[in-house]
């Protein structure tokens, strides 16, 4: 990975997929020397970023996320877009996709000239997924991709992190029979902008329609995330290419709404501020953990607080005043 800044920039701007990949590997690196070059790279490409539509996609393993991204991605290409897919690395231990024999993920899409697919690792430094993913997205935008699809693993806080870097959030659901909504992860319904019930066929269409009714009812219980937007619940089959054009149209409509209300820009700014605050906090904790004395102090005060023998804010105050006295 011994390239110069100019080589990375040139490769990205030319849309050279190999160099885009190398640049992503650079921003994913945790080595201090790489971080410096990565920061310089990001500073340089920044003016060329921000112009894409950023879409987060979630759903349990088996909901058909990669098939959905393949079919939806092909439609985007047909409509004249350039598409980057930040997928979950199937070799990653946390991901269950691989055990479903899903090895040839997005095979057709991957061959397309206007498409770039990057499998992301699912774990990293300080919940670094979101960071590397965000920076990967910037590189793809600088390379001219105007649609970025980001798959999330659905583990821990990953949806929140992905929702915080995207403009629209899509939830894939499959219909099973019985109590459909019981298993939906806490908080998902509140962050979603569009729901796609996938794998609908003649056998389960009635069931799927009932699931749709249940979902609409559940959505109705929530105050709207985006004023003037009723979260659509669409039925279809990504494998059979059914319902995907509707997804494209609805999401385009959603983007129009957000842009005309000014929410598109204001949300992106809020996201950036939030991310700044998050990383200030994370880097301060990193500084603490890299200093043996500070780390011991932190652990001591945290232990005092969690053993309920002392007041947490007193312990926090003691720790912080010692930290800044040094």
């Amino acid at each position: 990975m011994e390239f110069k800044l100019e080589q990375y920039l040139d490769g990205i701007y030319r849309g050279d997929k190999r160099m885009i990949g190398k640049a992503i590997t650079l921003v994913e690196s945790k080595k201090p020397a790489h971080r410096e070059l990565a920061d310089e790279l990001l500073r340089n490409i920044m003016p060329r970023t921000g112009k894409s539509v950023r879409i987060g996609i979630t759903g349990i393993p088996g909901a058909g996320k990669s098939t959905f991204m393949e079919s939806y991605g092909k439609i985007l290409v047909q409509k004249g877009h350039r598409v980057a897919v930040l997928a979950i690395d199937p070799s990653s231990s946390l991901n269950k996709g691989s055990i479903l024999g899903d090895k040839t993920r997005m095979e057709e899409l991957a061959k397309m000239d206007k498409v770039f697919i990057r499998p992301s690792p699912t774990s990293g430094f300080l919940g670094g997924v979101a960071n590397a993913t965000f920076e990967t997205m910037l590189i793809c935008e600088a390379a001219g991709y105007d649609y970025i699809l980001i798959e999330t693993v659905g583990v821990g806080q990953s949806e929140v992190l992905v929702a915080d870097i995207t403009d629209a959030f899509v939830f894939l659901k499959i219909t099973g029979g019985g109590d459909e909504l019981q298993g939906i992860k806490r908080g998902i319904m509140e962050m979603v902008d569009l729901i796609f019930i996938n794998k609908v066929d003649e056998q389960n269409r009635t069931l799927a329609k009932n699931t749709k009714i249940e979902l609409i009812r559940a959505l109705h219980f929530l105050s709207p995330k985006e004023a003037g937007w009723k979260v659509p619940v669409l039925l279809g089959s990504a494998l059979q290419n059914e319902g995907l054009v509707e997804v494209y149209e609805k999401l385009s409509e959603f983007m129009e709404l957000k842009k005309s209300s000014g929410r598109f820009d204001s949300v992106r700014k809020e996201q950036a501020q939030k991310r700044f605050e998050y990383w200030v906090h994370a880097f301060i904790l990193q500084q603490i953990s890299e200093n043996n004395q500070a780390e011991a102090l932190y652990n001591l005060h945290k232990k005092n607080a969690s053993e309920l023998t002392s007041n947490p804010s007193t312990e926090a105050q003691l720790f912080v005043s010692k930290l800044f006295k040094k």
Copy 2:
């Protein structure tokens, strides 16, 4: 407020309401000199705290929170408990209770020997509500109150903060007609342990029963907060003393469940850890804001990030490395 530590401690342990009040004023104070004495006080009382049942109560203005606390509080006293009520100060600007002519709040309860009522201000240092409220609760526990009721204003993050210091969270709802659940604040349904539909009478009983059905359906869509606990939806009237004994029984049952599963203790420890982390973060930000140079630096990097001209994590990294170089 010129008392010595021993005088505060003696007053608290004797259950002298005037001195309990003075001690609370001390822990609410922002002055550094008071903070030092307050911390000493808290360290001393800590072994006598933690034995109460801590209950958070929320609901929109007009849902009858103070009437509920009065009626429920009286039942608790009948059952042999000592009750502390941390209520919202009706004179506080954020509170809408006062405009409802609600000046004589909890009049009967306030006169009872075994009851202590403390109106809390709704605003404060660094979202300090939660902190002062938590410390106020510790003082009440040290004074022998074994039930603490904490009212929340329902503004901003206040429910989350109160849920993070309590063992059970009660949501008061009134029935209106029409679309009952549309106006429920985002996130409330996910943190609630018991719902009480208040102000039910002969005129609106059918309506209230429908609201109950809707609420049960909405709860059903959420994964359970506490394994083995089905959030009860109870009907009644706090003013007419109807349904309050059932509230008492259900909440006692809930406490039993949490204690036998070990969740009672583990959740309190998690809460303390979380509070420690929260306050470390808050105090670090305070340190930054108290240093002109650091504050200017923070604002500069935050501005860079939010204007989307630079990568937020790069800006955060730059800020933190400068902060710790000084």
